[in-house]
């Protein structure tokens, strides 16, 4: 479908190309509102932060290679360990899954030409980048956050942490939350309103269900973190008493609010991985996903029930059992939706004809890690067990199996899977498989012994340990595993970089995928679809009749929407045609607003409140200018 033969069709495509022409060069990238370019920006930025977080991890592991290690001082260890957590969660995994994969793929999968709010999309990216730089300025100036990624008070209070390290943390996270909230709102409205006509809820790809769940979770979870950080800054900078027991405050307030955010956050981390897995499995097993409604439902349920389990991170703080049982009960039941998904995936794999190419290998690795990590997780739902093992390496093992094994493996598999679509080139399959195995073995060696050493009593977050406790061998194995893991990742990067420049040209649909992104050229044109596609099942690429009908429509000039930067809007439940929307093209206001907002946060950090107000005013002006431009023509129907 890449070459357009019919002259009428070719003329229409050329018209679309002219209408959607991008501004070239660096300025083009700074002012872009194209969801695909923004996805690429997110991808590279989050990969840079992945590298930073990875270096931090290797530093931690090297320090723990032997007892009484001397690689890092205790203070440095605290900073490196904290920044490892903060970077990996807020600056790598969330941005790459929502910002890179979500941004690039969701509009393509629903048959739209862009997100619902393209300029806000760009704004989300620039704010994310700024928030990452903001926090790393702290690290670079010797003020790296150092109280753990969860930053408990009183360690994080002014009394015990007088410098500005925690201010970088708190303000940085509020800043980052603005980016994620804007992105989440964008996804929800896009998925609700911009689906191709005919794509009712029962015909929407599972990938989109995962992102819908992620976005709702972000919208409802982030305020808890933001207000927690606001309370912390008020206590630290203005002497408020939220967390001061002497004045009626309580440190548990921080913990409750943090985990009301923090638990949904971990489901936010894993859900995009579920979405990617449910995209790759049907393609490489040549069959539809088993129990489609239940998998869609499970993705949403995991996020929903996940809001009710937060106090399982606090089973050891001294709350009464009549309180904690609510959370134990919900924590046990939240496993069931995940189990539904696992059974569906396994059944699809077993009853289909699996093709063991690199993307599927990563997904199988994901399933292995997810099952083990999920089992260790459910064990924590039992309060007595949790109280024994809280704050030990057993917990570290559990969440790394889940975050690295189960959340990151599908991302890496997804990088391979969609690489041909995004770049137009094929990666090297043998090197791809090698990179998988190296990473898999490295991960298993790094994180599995942590279960054992945790059961043997090794606490978390310690900068060193004594010898003779039986922990030495395991720690050494974990560090070696970490370096092997790093090697596997380097091989992956090398494979993709070399293939980008030298790989063979990729066809539009190298794997026989089921969703709409495979119906357009590789790499996609700016306007995505020459014809707004007709959708009758969740596997549109496998509906030959519909795709042939689309080609005929292009020739006849139906559903081409080439009157301007146009895309249709549809109704929420059933995707009935509603109106044509005129989309904005390149705009400088998103990056300008983000820069002004950075000024606000920088002045909040340094305490220059007048300057902060100036930046706030400039930001308001930028927002007014942003909304000053109205759509060019009011398209009627």
């Amino acid at each position: 479908m890449a070459t357009v033969i019919h002259p009428e069709a070719r003329r229409r495509v050329q018209r679309l190309e002219r209408i959607w022409l991008d501004r070239p060069g660096v300025l083009g990238w700074l002012t872009t509102t194209d969801h695909k370019k923004i996805g690429i920006l997110y991808l590279f930025t989050s990969l840079v932060f992945f590298g930073a977080g990875g270096v931090e991890a290797l530093l931690v592991r090297t320090q723990l290679l032997t007892p009484n290690g001397t690689t890092l001082s205790p203070g440095a260890f605290s900073e490196v360990m904290t920044m490892h957590g903060v970077t990996m969660i807020f600056l790598f995994v969330i941005p790459i899954s929502t910002g890179a994969f979500g941004n690039y793929l969701v509009p393509l999968m629903i048959g739209a030409r862009d997100m619902a709010f393209p300029r806000m999309n760009a704004f989300s990216f620039w704010v994310f980048a700024a928030s990452g730089i903001f926090m790393y300025v702290g690290l670079a100036t010797g003020n790296g956050p150092n109280a753990g990624w969860f930053d408990y008070v009183p360690l994080a209070s002014r009394t015990y942490n007088p410098g500005s390290a925690i201010d970088f943390y708190a303000l940085g996270l509020i800043f980052n939350a603005i980016s994620s909230t804007a992105a989440a709102i964008n996804f929800i409205v896009t998925i609700f309103k911009m689906r191709a006509p005919g794509m009712a809820l029962n015909r929407m790809p599972l990938f989109c269900y995962a992102f819908l769940a992620v976005s709702f979770a972000l919208v409802f979870a982030l305020p808890a973190l933001s207000i927690d950080c606001v309370f912390l800054e008020l206590d630290r900078r203005l002497g408020f008493s939220f967390f001061e027991p002497a004045n009626g405050g309580t440190v548990l307030l921080w913990q409750h609010l943090f985990w009301i955010f923090g638990h949904p956050e971990v489901y936010i981390i894993i859900l995009p991985a579920f979405g990617i897995a449910t995209s790759i499995i049907p393609t490489f097993t040549r069959r539809r996903m088993v129990a489609f409604p239940m998998v869609a439902l499970a993705e949403v349920l995991v996020a929903f029930i996940g809001f009710g389990v937060w106090a399982h991170h606090m089973f050891a703080v001294g709350m009464s059992t009549i309180t904690t049982v609510y959370f134990a009960a919900a924590s046990m039941i939240v496993v069931i939706p995940s189990a539904i998904q696992i059974f569906a995936w396994l059944t699809t794999l077993v009853t289909g004809t699996p093709i063991f190419k690199t993307p599927l290998l990563w997904i199988i690795g994901f399933i292995v890690f997810f099952i083990i990590g999920g089992l260790s997780g459910i064990m924590f739902a039992a309060i007595p067990f949790d109280q024994q093992l809280t704050d030990t390496y057993f917990v570290v093992a559990h969440f790394h199996f889940i975050i690295f094994g189960a959340a990151v493996f599908p991302l890496l598999g997804g990088l391979y899977y969609w690489f041909p679509k995004v770049t137009g080139r094929m990666y090297s399959e043998p090197v791809g498989q090698a990179s998988f195995w190296l990473t898999f073995v490295g991960s298993a060696l790094t994180f599995f012994p942590m279960h054992i050493v945790g059961l043997l009593g090794m606490p978390r977050r310690v900068y060193t340990y004594q010898s003779g406790l039986g922990w030495d061998g395991y720690n050494m194995a974990e560090t070696i595993g970490a370096y092997i893991l790093a090697g596997g990742l380097m091989l992956l990067v090398a494979n993709l970089v070399v293939s980008y420049f030298r790989g063979p040209k990729a066809p539009d649909d190298p794997f026989g995928g089921a969703t709409l992104e495979w119906s357009i050229p590789s790499p996609p044109p700016h306007y995505n679809f020459a014809v707004i596609p007709r959708v009758t099942t969740p596997y549109p690429m496998w509906d030959e009749q519909d795709r042939i009908e689309d080609m005929r429509k292009l020739e006849r000039g139906e559903m081409v929407l080439d009157g301007g930067h146009e895309t249709p809007a549809t109704s929420v439940l059933d995707a009935n045609w509603d109106e044509v929307i005129d989309m904005p093209s390149d705009s400088p206001w998103p990056i300008v607003t983000a820069l002004m907002m950075s000024g606000v946060f920088a002045m909040l950090l340094t305490g220059h409140l007048v300057a902060m107000c100036v930046f706030l005013g400039l930001m308001a002006l930028a927002v007014a200018a942003w909304h000053g431009a109205e759509p060019e023509h009011e398209a009627a129907t």
């Binding site: 005919g198 009712a200 809820l201 029962n202 015909r203 489609f292 409604p293 239940m294 869609a296 439902l297 349920l301 929903f304 029930i305 009710g308 001294g318 709350m319 009464s320 059992t321 009549i322 309180t323 904690t324 049982v325 609510y326 134990a328 009960a329 919900a330 046990m332 039941i333 069931i336 939706p337 539904i340 309060i383 009758t536 099942t537 969740p538 439940l573 059933d574 995707a575 009935n576």
Partner: protein, 113 residues
């Protein structure tokens, strides 16, 4: 259809937040006299009834849409799809509601654990 998908989750949310709040109110330094068991029992029963109503609604919708395929055109296909979701959701939430309610009633109030 809506009661089928939203009834049980709403019931659980209400029982969870209310129950948590009641235990916090009753067991905290403020020493407010709160009849924890009574409130917990009421909340659990109301929530359970609502969850069962949700299940019933979902089953009825499913029966009404018998003969529809999963991929069918909206609104029938979409209603059928969401009714299946309701049938799976309601028992799950009913389980959490009953587990937490019964456990809270059986345990000694305000005992630290």
């Amino acid at each position: 259809m809506w009661l089928g998908i939203l009834g049980a989750p709403a019931a659980w949310t209400a029982q969870h937040v209310f129950g948590f709040g009641v235990t916090q109110a009753g067991c905290s330094p403020a020493n407010l006299s709160v009849p924890i068991d009574t409130w917990t029992l009421i909340a659990t029963i109301v929530a359970a009834v609502l969850a069962i109503a949700g299940l019933a609604a979902a089953l009825l919708t499913y029966r009404a849409m018998r003969g529809t395929g999963q991929d069918d055109a909206p609104p029938e296909g979409r209603i059928y799809f969401l009714s299946i979701c309701g049938i799976v959701i309601s028992p799950l939430f009913l389980a959490i509601i009953l587990m937490s309610g019964i456990a809270t009633l059986l345990l000694t109030n305000c005992h630290q654990g």
